[in-house]
């Protein structure tokens, strides 16, 4: 439990300070604090403006990974569970959506939802097995199960092994909007991301989320108050896996390919990296983290194999210099919750 607990310390809420001087937690609008509201507006503005300055292809990929990281953060940041096999849900979502769109000829939104559903079902089974253990054992079980998914995808005929599923048609959104136009696709992905982001925010700020936070903070105490903590963790796990599946599905429809990279354990590591870099347990951290990692991969591509090394160095520096992540440290600096 130790590892998960230390990782889950919400940054920006460090101890100390005169207690009575602190204002009661302002509910704000839709559960957003004022700072979060401002950040949300900035993010929406960026979603609208960015495609006119940056490649929509790059932005779409970024948004898919941002959603993936947000789903992962729901578990580690708000429940204190370190899943080291989230690529399984992302990758299965990716494959299923790809297969549904290409072979079955389903519309993109149905394909992506199907990917999410399969991710959620997989999450239900894997979560049910893994949640009986805590801390490092939990992480190892999730990793082992994800490896099984990887080998399944390597062997199963519909995934086409090393080749993956290629040239996936983007199709017509709701049967009417042609997604082959990059900007149409972009608005669709942006809307999907925003919906997912808001859903996660709602989950955290729901009666359910309140119990989750209590479990993260002190599980035995939550049990002693009459909460069957495993059930809550499992529901959170399923939600996280489902959203990861949707992110994976959106990614394969956007990019047009679903490959073994999506289910590889390195993908599980990447999402940990994104979340840590941005800030565990912060609402916007995973988005910033995903942005940073995808930007590095895209714009440092000319350096070839050096990308991994540069990434590693940045990661080490990040952990050494600001342990709460970029957004976590920013929040601490400005004394707000982001």
């Amino acid at each position: 439990m130790a590892s998960a607990t230390t990782l889950s310390q919400a940054p920006g809420t460090s101890e100390g300070g005169a207690p009575s001087a602190l204002p009661p937690a302002a509910p704000g609008l839709f559960g957003f604090t004022r700072a979060q509201g401002v950040a949300l507006l900035v993010m929406i503005a960026a979603l609208i403006v960015c495609p006119y300055f940056l490649y929509p292809q790059f932005l779409m990929k970024l948004l898919c990974f941002a959603l993936f990281a947000c789903a992962f953060n729901l578990l580690i940041g708000y429940v204190g569970l370190l899943s080291f096999g989230h690529a399984a849900y992302f990758g299965m979502g990716s494959y299923i959506a790809a297969h549904a769109a290409k072979v079955w000829g389903l519309t993109p939104e149905v394909s992506i939802l199907l990917g999410g559903a399969v991710g959620a079902v997989l999450g239900l089974v894997f979560g049910w097995i893994a949640i009986r253990r805590a801390g490092i054992y939990f992480a190892m079980i999730t990793l082992a199960l994800a490896q099984m998914v990887y080998f399944f995808c390597l062997q199963a005929p519909f995934t086409h092994g090393e080749d993956g599923i290629q040239s996936i048609p983007r199709g017509m959104l709701f049967g009417v909007i042609d997604l082959r136009a990059d900007m149409n696709m972009y608005w669709f992905v942006a809307a999907l991301f925003l919906l997912g982001f808001l859903l996660i925010h709602r989950i955290i700020h729901s009666p359910f989320g309140q119990v989750l936070t209590a479990i993260r903070e002190n599980e035995p105490r939550a049990t002693s108050l009459g909460y069957r903590t495993d059930d809550y963790k499992l529901v959170a796990f399923v939600l996280s896996a489902g959203i990861a599946g949707i992110a994976g599905g959106a990614k394969s429809i956007t990019v047009g390919i679903a490959t073994l990279t999506d289910v590889h354990w390195a993908m599980s590591g990447e999402v940990v990296l994104m979340t840590l870099l941005g800030g565990l347990g912060t609402l916007f951290g995973p988005v910033v983290g995903a942005g940073a990692v995808i930007a590095m991969q895209t714009y440092l591509a000319p350096f070839g194999a050096w990308v991994t090394i540069i990434q590693g160095i940045i990661f080490v520096l990040c952990v050494l210099a600001f342990r709460a992540g970029v957004v976590g440290e920013l929040g601490r600096l400005l004394r707000v919750k982001l």
């Binding site: 309140q210 002190n218 035995p220 105490r221 002693s224 009459g226 903590t229």
Partner: protein, 260 residues
């Protein structure tokens, strides 16, 4: 209505051959404050863990309110009104003081699995939460993160959180441990007040507190019940005095080794 709210029979817990709790028959009379005392390592906390189902007994049965709870899970036992506190102050540090109590009040809704609903529905518990906080003198701290409270206040918050569940039987694990004199007095007064209309079982090291609060006590040593009865009676028991002074004939050998 049973006279005894909690009864155990032959309650035993073994850890790989080490017997932490051995054949304990405990009977807690309804509506009393019952103290569980004994030297360090006597098995008091293990006993608590067994009674609240945080640990599974190796042998024996536990009956609560006329019902066999031996095979139940901890969360279920809590829902029946048998609610415990912890030795180390158990609060949710990053939740506000108000939210700490509210999480307990939220149990009234049943399972809170509605992740699609805004947590503003929980505001209807705010008034009751503030009442409970007022009860333990924490009104001014309501908005502060629980982790920033001084130690004594954390214990008070813990009691308020426990009370929010309207427990029939409250188990307090060393409620005054590590406290200053003023804090001890405040907690003693609080326990006495909240014990109205319910039963309290408390582990306590401070014998003054036990003497002032408890209607009956059970003395545990090395996992076994040494004596049971009213404080005045038990405190005169030579075996109990010996156990507390460490000159119990049964362990004198061990004591000599320890002194050497």
């Amino acid at each position: 209505m049973q006279e005894y709210i909690l009864e155990t029979e032959g309650l035993t817990k073994e850890f790989r051959g080490f017997v932490a709790v051995s054949e304990v028959d405990l009977r807690i009379r309804r509506g009393t404050i019952h103290g569980l005392i004994g030297p360090n390592g006597a098995g008091k906390t293990t006993c608590f863990n067994l009674l609240t189902k945080f640990m599974q007994p190796s042998r024996g049965t536990i009956r609560y309110d006329g019902r066999d709870i031996t095979a139940m899970r901890p969360a279920e036992v809590a829902r029946l009104g048998l609610v415990r506190s912890f030795q180390i102050s158990a609060v949710f540090p990053h939740l506000s003081v108000l939210e700490n109590v509210r999480v307990a009040l939220q149990r009234q809704r049943g399972g809170s699995f509605d992740f699609w609903r805004s947590d503003s529905v929980l505001r209807r518990f705010d008034d009751r939460a503030m009442e409970l906080l007022a009860d333990v003198g924490l009104t001014t701290y309501a908005g502060a993160p629980a982790g920033t409270l001084p130690y004594g206040r954390k214990r008070a918050l813990e009691i308020a959180t426990t009370l929010a569940l309207e427990p029939t039987l409250m188990l307090l694990d060393e409620p005054t441990a590590g406290m200053t004199h003023e804090d001890v007095d405040r907690i003693v007064a609080l326990v006495r007040r909240v014990a109205q209309g319910r039963t309290v079982l408390m582990v306590e090291h401070n014998l003054k507190v036990v003497e002032g609060l408890c209607d009956a006590i059970t003395v545990l040593t090395r996992g076994k019940v040494l004596a049971e009865g009213p404080y005045a009676e038990v405190s005169r028991n030579p075996h109990v005095i010996a156990a507390y002074l460490g000159s119990d004939p049964g362990v004198s050998g061990a004591a000599e080794v320890a002194h050497a």
